[in-house]
Amino acid sequence: MSNIPYILEERPDTGLNNSKLGIWIFIASEIMLFGGLFSAYVFLRIAAPEGDFDYWGSKLSIPMATFNTLVLITSSVTMVMSWASLKMQQFDKYKMYLGITILCGLAFLVVKYFEYTGKFHHGVYPSSSTFMGIYFTLTGLHVIHIIGGLLVLGFFWTSQADKMWEQDQDLLANRIEITGLYWHFVDLVWIFLFPILYLL
């Protein structure tokens, strides 16, 4: 189907196909991207007046963030289940699990929309405080990653996936595994953002 080498088969030198090696290198760069902002958070927290981060952090909704955490964890398990379904040749189940993953991603965005608009309604903006500045930067960047992931997941939920399944089942399973690695990483970032921004 493709003339690009080592998309599915393993390279003899790395023992990996290029798709998987590529996504892991991308994830490594993403760790450093978020790492820079986590580092900025630590620096700003150390430099902030005493109680400042506590005061502004208390304005965030823990129930909403807890709900969103559970939604993302659910989306991670349905993502891996969609891959497992392909491996078991169950295309209908794949579609169902991927559909649930997309719905979870959309639910996360809806909750985030209400969180953001709630803040704006009360006159709280990124410029309101140092905490809000780093809060909107970190969560905003995370939201952009969710939207990017949803676009890819959406593509693999369309009839394009049906065609790919008919033409090359291994290729579709590989694409979903790679997409899944990205989606789990987005979940992983939220696992650390949640306590740092909402609970501490």
Binding site: L70, I191, L200
Partner: protein, 108 residues
């Protein structure tokens, strides 16, 4: 030949089914740990204690996602080394802000 292939397919399906059980257990553990993190945040503990509890629980949750959902336990050495290198660079990045603390206390 076809019988052999069928046996292999059955083994493969059984293997995946075993993985699915693990995924469900990991999902339950992640959900429980999320509730634990939130519950602990309501306890009357110092910031340092709250920080270590929150980061420890988040690290456990993150490790579960990495090891089981991202299959890092069975992944090739090349990927492990990419992540180890990244993690070291990440830790350095995390400790850079602490230099400002030494500056404030006039250690240097």
């Amino acid at each position: 030949m076809s019988t052999h292939k069928k046996e292999n397919t059955n083994e493969h399906v059984e293997d995946i089914q075993h993985h699915i059980k693990v995924y469900m257990n990991v999902f339950m553990a992640l959900a429980v740990l999320t509730i634990v993190t939130v519950a602990v945040s309501y306890l009357d503990v110092s910031f340092i204690e709250a920080f270590f509890i929150a980061i420890t629980v988040a690290t456990i949750k993150g490790s579960l996602v990495l090891c089981y959902f991202m299959h890092l336990l069975t992944e090739r050495q090349a990927i492990i080394w990419i992540l180890v290198t990244t993690f070291i660079a990440f830790l350095i990045l995390m400790f850079i802000p602490l230099i400002s603390l030494t500056d404030q206390t006039s250690i240097w």
